[in-house]
């Protein structure tokens, strides 16, 4: 009996393998060779060095390919490829070009394969790519510190001021937090899609963001429910909620750090200081958000420190990663996770607000809450003007 049962499971499998084998051997019956050669060469990173450019490339097409010519700004140029000009599928290579680039000028680099397929890379404004050394490491870390930890800590400083609010106003502040977070969620998702689109198409950057976001969201919720059942506690501890928020915001700030670090590395942050000021201003509100759940409790100083570090320090790491080892696909992964984490916090706070108002037989979307929510969105919207162009 059991054997029979197993066989019924195997039959479709065997047939499937048969069909696949037939298709692989005979083709789909339409055409065996593509009309034009399919070659996909990806330029992952362009490093501007003292003597020229260094391109990290990978072959993400279905067949091996050979890099045969290189042009820089519409001029045929000498180059070398390591390990060799022919790249197998998924093989990575390094193209080195000696070129007298001009500080601040845009440079277009075309790689042409044997079959005449052109892959274009751009250096938006040429400037030396920062080398990985201690001084740069520190400088980048400092940028991350200003963008991440400083504003969030400053935001947390509003805690004593907010402490005197009534229950309803506290709920209003929480609604404001939901507004902030919604903005951050959409922003993080959009950044993820933008970076994901730069990744080689075979990795499907956009799907990576979606997978990252939904899995993170569900995993966090699942973990929460498990914790609650285990401890048989009702609701969230305020500090736990603040911690959750700090984590979600931290991942978002990792993304911001990534953006800053890589734009410096790409020579695009000519307005670097301005960008940093913008992000700092933008992030102060995140501190308010994190402090909001704690208003009914009596937190200790070190709790604030912990929250500030959890939410802010990822910006430092992000700046390092963006500046020294940036790769679009990892950016997409992290931003996806960040978006999922933020979404989960939105869910938790909203649920908490609704429960609280139900308990007191009030409408959840009160005028105060709506105002808070709107202000939250608007604060983020207007402070974002400093970092968008």
């Amino acid at each position: 009996m059991k054997g029979k049962w197993l066989i019924t499971g195997l039959i479709p499998l065997v047939l499937l393998i048969g069909v696949l084998g037939w298709v692989l051997k005979n083709g789909a019956g339409i055409e065996k060779d593509p009309a034009a050669p399919i070659e996909v060469l990806n330029i992952e990173r362009i490093k501007v060095t003292k003597i020229g450019f260094e391109l990290s490339v990978s072959n993400t097409g279905p067949k091996p390919l050979t890099i045969s010519q290189v042009m820089v700004n519409d001029s045929v140029w000498n180059y070398s490829v390591s390990p060799q000009a022919k790249l197998e599928r998924f093989e990575e290579g390094k193209v080195t070009i000696t070129y007298p680039w001009v500080e601040g000028d845009p440079h277009t680099i075309k790689l042409i394969t044997e079959n005449g397929i052109i892959t274009e890379g751009e250096v938006a404004a040429a400037t030396l790519t920062p080398e990985t050394n201690w001084s740069n490491f520190l400088n980048y870390g400092l940028i991350g510190f200003y963008v991440g930890i400083v504003p969030i800590t400053l935001g947390l400083l509003w805690y004593p001021f907010m402490k005197r609010f009534s229950r309803k106003s506290i709920n209003g502040i929480l609604a404001l937090t939901v507004g902030l977070l919604l903005f951050l969620f959409v922003g993080t998702l959009a950044d993820g899609f933008e970076i994901g689109a730069e990744a080689p198409s075979v990795f499907q950057g956009n799907m990576v963001v979606i997978i990252g976001a939904s899995l993170t969201f569900l995993l966090l919720i699942g973990f929460d429910q498990y914790q609650q059942r285990k401890q048989e506690k009702k609701g969230y501890s305020p500090f736990g909620l603040a911690l959750l928020m700090a984590t979600g915001i931290g991942l978002h700030n990792f993304g911001e750090g990534l953006a800053i670090g890589s734009s410096f590395a790409l020579g695009e942050a000519a307005l670097g200081t301005f960008l940093i000021i913008g992000f700092t201003l933008h992030n102060i509100t995140e501190g308010i958000g994190i402090a909001a759940p704690l208003l009914k409790t009596k937190p200790r100083f070190r709790d604030f420190l912990l929250l500030g570090v959890i939410a802010g320090a990822p910006a430092i790491v992000g700046t390092w990663v963006g500046g020294f080892i940036f790769s679009p696909i990892w950016g997409a992964v992290f931003l996806g996770i960040g978006a999922g984490a933020i979404l989960q916090v939105i869910y938790v706070i909203t649920k908490m607000l609704i429960d609280d108002h139900k308990k007191h037989a009030e409408p959840s979307v009160s005028w105060l809450n709506l105002t808070g929510f709107t202000i939250g969105l608007l604060i983020m919207y207007f402070t974002a003007f400093f970092v968008k162009y």
Partner: protein, 341 residues
Amino acid sequence: MSDEKKVSRRDILKMGTAGAFGIAGSYYLNKMAQFPNVAQASSDSSHKTSNHSNHSNHANMSDKTKTTGYKMAERLLTDFDYGEVTKLPNGQILREYKVVAIDKEIEIAKGIKFPGWTYNGTIPGPTFRCTEGDLLRFHFINKGSHPHSIHFHGIHPPEMDGLTSIYPGQKFTYEFEANPYGLQIYHCHVLPLARHIHKGLYGNFIIDPKKPREPALELNMVMNGFDLDLDGENEFYTVNGYANAFMNHPIKIKKDQLVRIYLSNLTEFDLLNSFHLHANYFTYYPTGRNDNPSQFTDTIMQCQGERGIIEVRFPYKGSYMFHAHVSEFAELGWMGFFEVE
């Protein structure tokens, strides 16, 4: 976690120090924000390392290997197809040429394959040559995948003008008398025109005057371009179909020797192309006619389909550069050297 202890005023002050630290640090940050004093790229040292050729400045695309593409360009430089010659009863010379249209991949720059349409397997096609008054027969066979034709410039009956498509597998014989003398061109005249010409169906067609020209080192140069991604812009500009051919393998010439260049422009997608010679002047005869007003200059330009003869002698030994004076074309492959010995 957070039980009894209140946040004291002192704690708030502690937190404030973080902010103060921030403000202080912004001074430092400001200094490093734009990474001042980044290397002026193209520093001397970088250039020294890249120059290992004797043409010290223009060594950015050096390649001494004699690839298939280069050999084709070199052969077309001095190869003239005089056809199969017989004498007709009336004393007239009859020249018969075989022309086959073939789809063929051509190497147009080192390692780059171009899916071309060719006459007799090269881009440009063979340089047909005859003398004014000869009777010419071009036996054309289309072995390509598309209809093609040969449209010759010159004076001939309209039915020999190459406007009729010859379909794959078909044959046609173009027959006419060579007239007038000078430099003519030929190309496919099947629609879509730009595509048929750009793919490689063109070449030079020399009709010598009855009174022979002064003996010289004769060179054939067809200026052309290649658009690899079909965006209407050429990626490579060449002479005789191979980028930087005579840049890496200079054309050898003797001092004071008369050099005659049959130059035509069959570049598609660009209105004009040009020829500029360094450190010397040449005489330019439009359409190769001695009776046309000529020019004594170092730079000429040709519209699509325009052609002419350049005659020049080199009074000094050494390397003379020649190239399109449009810098972009030059840097994309249309550049070369005469090596005068």
